[in-house]
């Protein structure tokens, strides 16, 4: 089948030993490949130059507030769940210059805005996007499109999404509850399922778009027999059965909106550090603040933006005073927005069930547990009104 044209919607088989050819095809198509790599004891996203940059033979153990990488007995390339990074670090960088301005010469005064030029970087191929992450990208697409965020949209257009169907569920995953995974049903250019059997290590590749089909031209592939498609379905079905967490979402919007005075908020506020790790790690959180960086000599200023979080005091400052001073107010704002009022604003939940906020919370606060606590005694009110 070499050199043959690949068709959207078709499935093909790639032998494990041909994986380097697949990587080479991505580069040859002009993409800079970024994907999972082992660094500092975690699987993060970074440059993938050769297959040895992938965490081959590693997996992760995740619990609330704890993450460890451990070897797994086989040579799986994608045998782990999501780590501390998400693709937003590429689409919505943590710090970015938006424009600069220069004071005009002469007595008239005023200033001239210099827009940020479009970067000349090569387009990125995201290798190993999980189903929940495709859903998260779609959520951020909606938010940044509504805001007509030129910088985001410009980068977003140039991404090739190479999905990987999850072969293991993390200890804090609950995508099944959120209806976002573990199977990636669409929204990708290519989707890989890693098939590992004692005698065989292969990938089933599904083509999701013409751009994906183009990459595969020239990659040594075989037609996928029906039993390999069934094998691939079994991989995600097994993952779905081993979710680390679950969350009951029926009626969740009203549940949270109607319980702002629930005593459970006090309880979580005692534990919450207001450290922002949950929001920084969350693949859908998009909050930001801007800073002006003036030249010391005057005359020129740059406007930058940086990730911000509803857990900081500064975030809710209006006219010089914070309106959400308490940890209670901040945690409630975050969770109620993410799981409830997001529906009103964007037509979906703001949560895709990836579990990052649970794993990467230093004190292991778990939103699935918090929701359940409120659900188990809704309508309970404390004697005192809660602080802002």
């Amino acid at each position: 089948m070499d050199g043959a044209e690949r068709r959207v919607g078709e499935r093909y088989l790639l032998e494990r030993r041909e994986f380097p050819a697949f990587l080479a095809a991505l580069s040859a198509s002009g993409y800079r490949v970024v994907g999972p790599t082992l660094r500092d004891g975690a699987i993060v996203y970074g440059e993938i130059r050769t297959e040895s940059d992938l965490p081959i033979g590693w997996t992760d153990r995740q619990e609330a507030g704890t993450y460890r990488v451990v070897p797994r007995g086989d040579g799986a390339l994608f045998g782990y769940a999501v780590g501390p990074h998400s693709w937003k670090k590429y689409l919505f960088p943590s710090r970015e210059r938006l424009w600069s301005a220069r004071a005009k010469e002469g007595s008239a005064g005023g200033f001239e805005v210099e827009p940020e030029p479009a970067g000349a970087d090569p387009p990125l191929a995201f290798l190993g996007v999980r189903a929940c992450e495709l859903a998260a990208i779609a959520i951020q697409d909606r938010a940044f499109t509504m805001a007509n965020d030129v910088a985001y949209l410009r980068r977003r257009e140039r991404i090739l999404r190479v999905a990987v169907q999850c072969g293991v569920a993390g200890g804090t995953c609950f995508c099944v509850s959120m209806g976002t995974g573990p199977a990636a049903a669409g929204g990708f250019d290519l989707a890989l399922t890693e098939l590992i059997a004692p005698e065989h290590h292969r990938f089933l590749i599904e083509v999701g778009s013409p751009a994906g089909a183009k990459v595969l031209t020239g990659v040594p592939l075989a037609a996928a027999p029906a039993d390999s498609a069934r094998e691939a379905e079994e991989v995600v079905a097994r993952t779905a059965r081993s979710m680390g967490r679950s969350m009951r979402v029926e009626g969740i919007r009203d549940l949270l909106v109607q319980n702002p005075e629930h005593p459970r908020w006090n309880d979580v506020a005692r534990r919450c550090l207001a450290c922002t790790n949950c929001t920084m790690a969350c693949p859908t959180c998009f909050c930001q603040t801007s800073e002006e960086v003036p030249e010391l000599a005057g005359g020129r200023v740059e406007r930058w933006r940086r990730w911000d979080s509803c857990f900081t005091t500064g975030f809710s400052e209006l006219h010089g005073t914070a309106i959400r001073k308490s940890h209670l107010g901040r945690y409630r704002q975050w969770m109620t927005h993410k799981l409830a009022t997001w529906y009103d604003q964007f037509g979906s939940s703001g949560c895709v069930g990836c579990g990052r906020c649970i794993t990467w919370c230093p004190v292991g606060i778990d939103l699935t547990v918090e929701v359940e606590a409120i659900r188990s005694s809704p309508g309970v009110r404390p004697s005192e009104p809660s602080p802002p």
């Binding site: 975690a42 943590s94 790790n277 920084m280 900081t312």
Partner: protein, 266 residues
């Protein structure tokens, strides 16, 4: 018409290691534009030419540890329009505030051959405990970028952009893997103010709290977690009692841990 006079800058040292003043000298390429825009009227670390007050901007490094310094800070305050403290010593008393938890009299008798020559106070305290301070720039040492921001803000008459949020934001913005969650390394980042750029976690260390407490720190919760992952109470007490051990939030946390059963004072 005479050229408008430049604002006059004074840089003063109290009990300190000079590291924060060195941060200013370390500004190298920015130093000339600064010298262009201000008149350096008193900066003994940099120049022996001392022009004297009054000062439009006074940068004060170090803590108050002697009766003489307790007087001197009032004179500087009286001569300064804006007084900005720089560093952990000037903000919370610095590492030398460890004396606040010990018997200084005993140290003086045991350590010095002629204790009668040593004139010292029983405590090391931040500048704001003695005179009103317009802005406290945190850090041990301070961060160069933040110092430039404070000076530029002063020169253009606006508030400096110096976030009082946690170190964790800087960690996550630079993509560092959390050492507390992924390695079980004790880290003070969640209760510490940002500013260093999350330096230590980027080099596989927990945060030491150099920038003092963030604006809304939750010490009891972090203490609970650090004890849970196996830190011994005396070690945790010492962890809180370092560069900013005298900052009220850290001081209270150390006392809580030390006072609890099995705490000990370390």
């Amino acid at each position: 018409m005479a050229a408008p006079s430049r604002p006059r800058l004074g840089v003063f040292k109290f009990a300190s290691c000079d590291g924060c003043q060195l941060t200013l000298l370390d500004c190298e390429e920015e130093l000339l534009p600064i010298a262009d825009r201000v008149e350096i009227a008193d900066f003994r670390e940099a120049s022996s030419a001392v022009l004297g007050g009054p000062f439009d901007l006074a940068l004060v490094e170090g803590s108050v540890t002697t009766p003489a310094d307790r007087e001197r800070i009032h004179r500087i305050r009286a001569e300064s329009r804006v007084l900005v403290t720089i560093g952990a010593c000037a903000t919370s008393g610095g590492i030398q505030a460890l004396r606040n938890f010990a018997d200084v009299e005993e140290y003086r008798r045991v350590v010095y051959a002629h204790p009668e020559y040593v004139s010292t106070l029983a405590t090391s305290t931040g500048i704001a405990e003695h005179v009103p301070v317009d802005f406290e720039l945190r850090g041990c040492p301070i961060n160069k970028r933040q110092l430039l921001e404070v000076i530029t803000a002063f020169l253009s008459g606006r508030a400096p952009d110096v976030p009082t949020e946690s170190v964790c934001l800087e960690c996550k913005r630079r993509g560092t893997v959390c050492v507390l969650v992924a390695h079980g390394t004790p880290c003070l980042g969640p209760v510490t103010q940002a500013g260093c750029g999350a330096l230590c976690p980027a080099y596989d260390r927990g945060c030491y709290g150099c920038f003092g407490p963030q604006d809304t720190p939750n010490l009891p919760s972090l203490s609970h977690r650090l004890l849970e992952i196996g830190l011994e109470p005396p070690t945790l007490t010492r962890f809180y009692r370092s560069f900013n051990g005298n900052a009220p939030a850290f001081r209270a946390a150390a006392e809580d841990v030390a006072g609890a059963p099995g705490g000990g004072t370390g």
